[in-house]
């Protein structure tokens, strides 16, 4: 299974999320993560969707079907080594009186994670990184009592010299158009 990161640039309109996800559903492709935000260009939204698939050909077909949606301006499919990407994870750790104290130095220096909130008997630790780094940290921190754990979807930018919006609206799935 290969991980693909699909970046979709769209007009910012209601209902588009549905239209895009239907394409994955119909092909029985599971979405690992999905994030949406407006880009540096007003009115243009960027979807970052991560999927795992064994066939590049099928992913290319999927991308072309997404491109077909009227409001979609461009779609880019990436392998992991073609992008810089990260996720954010938040860990809510129980710290009642008398429990094992947190090794904040290790958390900071070794795992590059930060305590972002101190509660009365819990703390919230933020860890930013790729999924491997986040799960390495998870393996470390689980010695404490994890009350809650949440990860964001992946955000990614391509390792190209220009920003992707520079390719809009002229950019296409180059081979075909």
């Amino acid at each position: 299974m290969t991980t693909y990161t699909i970046c979709i640039f769209t007009e910012n309109t209601i209902g588009l999320l549905n239209r895009i996800t239907i394409i994955f559903t119909r092909r029985r492709i599971n979405i690992e993560s999905l994030t949406v935000s407006e880009t540096e260009r007003k009115g243009v939204s960027r979807f970052t969707i991560v999927i795992k698939h064994e066939s590049r050909e099928e992913v290319e077909k999927l991308v072309r079907q997404i491109r077909k949606i009227v409001e979609v301006m461009a779609v880019f499919g990436y392998l992991n080594d073609e992008i810089v990407y990260n996720e954010i994870a938040l860990f809510k750790i129980s710290t009642p009186l008398g429990s094992k104290s947190l090794d904040v130095e290790t958390i900071n220096k070794e795992y590059k994670a930060w305590v972002v909130y101190w509660g009365l008997d819990y703390v919230v630790i933020e860890k930013t990184g790729n999924d491997t780094e986040i799960f390495e940290f998870f393996a470390y921190i689980k010695q404490y009592d994890i009350l809650e754990f949440v990860r964001s979807g992946r955000v990614a930018v391509g390792k190209t010299e220009k920003g992707l919006v520079e390719y809009l609206p002229e950019s296409e799935w180059a081979y075909y158009l």
């Binding site: 769209t10 007009e11 209601i14 209902g15 549905n18 239209r19 077909k68 009227v70 075909y176």
Partner: protein, 588 residues
């Protein structure tokens, strides 16, 4: 502020449309804006059915009766199929107008059908008022959600000011690129409220995010031409896209210059006259023998405006493995979807063929072409001649279509429903003119033919329209007889009645050991039903009467229903069994 039902714009006199245009600047309501937008798009016909949530639009329509012919159907599905028939023969978007909830959901089948067969539709659907959205209000359905996967584009208008721009987009999207259905869901409040700015309509010419490529890239055309010129056994497969692009003349020129044999898909039929020396028949599950078998012997396949549907390819993993493929298609997502293309060309079929013509070399592939004729001879001997030369037993479907074809000289627009009769009509009608077959291909929608024939007749008043319908299909939309009669359209309908759901029965016979599970129909007296609607008709049960019955049908002034009682357990051959490769096509 939410408009309420009592608001009727005083600036819009109900009496005359001309008066509207003289009051300037006019702050018209959403419904009148909709009417004006339709007129700006050249719409002269709407197929529709009124209801609560679309009443303001119908109220506005009352003022526009002189310019827009509204046809009241008997069921919204009929509106959709009629609009499809209209669109298929005119090449322009068919327009449907229905109310919210059930009105909209009744349209769904036709929308899905139009999407898969690339038919331009603009479906205008009422919706509950903006304040009621999402409250499970009376006749509220999430039509946007329901139709999202089966429309090319859909949009919910909640503000009257949006009407001109959204309508312009709707027509542009429906009719450009690969045509398809567009649905506009319009809240009742948007229909009623006044626009806050003067009405201005500009036709849409382009969109930032949607730019279908009509003119192909030169390097793609050159690569395709090189492949065609290098071929020893080239073969052209023609789909519906050629007729959508109105590229029939260019196609013929390409085939004649290069001497390449041409086969069509089901929907591609009538693109090229069936008596053209280069035409070799049609492809697919019940298509002709030669064209199916020979796809496995071609070295270059030139597929134009077709999408390698599974009914054409059979088992796609075994399909044309030996051939290089030139795929000419306006929808880039179709390229490599089923069959990998060695030379894809994205563009409008007409533009692509025009670009190809100077690059392809004149050629003569007589020897290769004659290979097809050997299979024709086998098909003729095994199937065609025996089906057409019966002297005993009941009338066969093939005889009816063959005789109809001769009596209409292949000039009629044939509208068929779905099933055995559809395949027989396609096999035995000898098309002479382009754009003469209207059928439900991709979706295979039973009940399609009667309303679609009506729509086709409205769209092509100068042509003879003949619907060929199965007894099962007819009963799905027979209420549209009322629409045909009320609108005085001279549609000729033929029911081929075998008292069975024939195609299902055939499959049960061949693949389920004759276990005829719920396929026998106890039919009503169709002619009495037709007469009840005010339509003349007659039944033909004897071979000796068939010719006279068809003469009566075709000569009748006005609509007519002819019921022909046909052989009960007749099968359609050739046949590529589902999942088999096309070379495994069966003759019996």
């Amino acid at each position: 502020m939410e408009a309420i039902a009592s608001i009727k714009p005083e600036t819009v006199p109900a009496a005359s449309v001309a008066a509207i245009d003289t009051v300037a600047p006019t702050y018209i309501n959403g419904s009148h804006a909709l009417m004006k937008a339709l007129l700006a798009e050249g719409v002269d016909t709407i197929f529709g059915y009124p209801g609560g949530a679309i009443m303001p639009v119908y109220d506005a329509l009352y003022d526009y009766q002189d310019q827009i012919n509204h046809i009241l159907v008997r069921h919204e599905q009929g509106a959709g199929h009629a609009a499809q028939g209209y669109a298929r023969v005119t090449g322009r978007a068919g327009v449907c107008l229905v109310t919210s909830g059930p009105g909209a959901t009744n349209l769904v089948t036709a929308i899905a059908d139009a999407l898969i067969d690339s038919t331009p539709l603009v479906c205008l659907v009422g919706q509950v008022g903006k304040k009621l959205l999402g409250t499970d209000a009376f006749q509220e359905a999430d039509v946007m959600g329901v139709t999202m996967p089966i429309t090319k584009w859909n949009y919910q208008i909640t503000d009257a000011d949006e009407v001109p721009e959204i309508l312009a987009k709707a027509f542009y999207i429906a009719q450009s690129g690969r045509p398809g259905p567009v649905l506009i869901d319009m809240t009742k409040s948007a229909q009623l409220e006044l626009m806050t700015k003067p009405y201005v309509y500009e036709r849409c010419q382009s969109l930032v995010s949607y730019r279908p490529r009509r003119i192909p890239k030169q390097e793609q055309v050159e690569a395709a031409a090189a492949l065609i010129n290098s071929a020893k056994r080239p073969y052209i497969l023609v789909g519906h896209g050629v007729q959508i692009a109105k590229a029939e003349d260019e196609l013929r020129e390409l085939a004649e210059k290069t001497g390449i044999p041409v086969a069509t898909t089901l929907l591609g039929q009538s693109t090229i006259p069936t008596n053209h020396p280069l035409y070799v028949g049609w492809l697919g599950m019940h298509g002709n023998y030669g064209p199916n078998v020979m796809t496995d012997q071609a070295d270059v396949i030139i597929a134009i405006g077709m999408r390698f549907d599974d009914r054409v390819t059979g088992d796609a993993s075994k399909y044309i493995k030996q051939a290089k493929v030139v795929h000419i298609e306006i929808d880039p997502s179709e390229i490599d979807k089923i069959i990998r293309a060695d030379a894809p060309v994205v563009g409008d079929a007409k533009e692509v063929i025009k670009a190809l013509l100077p690059l392809v070399k004149p050629n003569d592939h007589t020897v290769w072409r004659n290979e097809f004729r050997k299979y024709d001879a086998i098909e003729n001997e095994t199937i065609t001649v025996p089906e057409l030369t019966n002297t005993g037993g009941k009338i066969r479907m093939a005889e009816v279509i063959d005789m109809l074809s001769k009596k209409t000289k292949g000039e009629a627009i044939l509208v068929t429903d779905v099933g055995q009769h559809q395949m027989m009509a396609s096999r035995y009608y000898q098309f002479r003119r382009p754009n003469s077959l209207v059928t439900s291909g991709g979706m295979g929608t039973m009940g399609f033919a009667l309303p679609a024939a009506f729509g086709a007749q409205v769209g092509a008043p100068d042509r003879q329209v003949v619907a060929v319908i199965g007894d099962g299909c007819f009963q799905m939309t027979l209420q549209e007889l009322g629409t045909i009669v009320q609108n005085k359209q001279p549609v000729k309908a033929i029911i081929l009645n075998n008292n069975f759901l024939g195609m299902v029965r055939q499959w049960q016979q061949l693949f389920h050991e004759r276990r005829y599970s719920f396929v026998e129909l106890q039919n009503p007296d169709f002619i009495t039903i037709a007469r009840g609607f005010g339509m003349d008709g007659q039944t033909c049960d004897e071979r000796s009467n068939l010719s006279d019955a068809l003469d009566t049908l075709l000569a009748h002034d006005g609509p007519f229903l002819l019921e022909v009682i046909v052989e009960k357990e007749e099968n359609v051959f050739p046949m590529v069994p589902a999942g088999a490769s096309v070379s495994q096509i069966r003759l019996k």
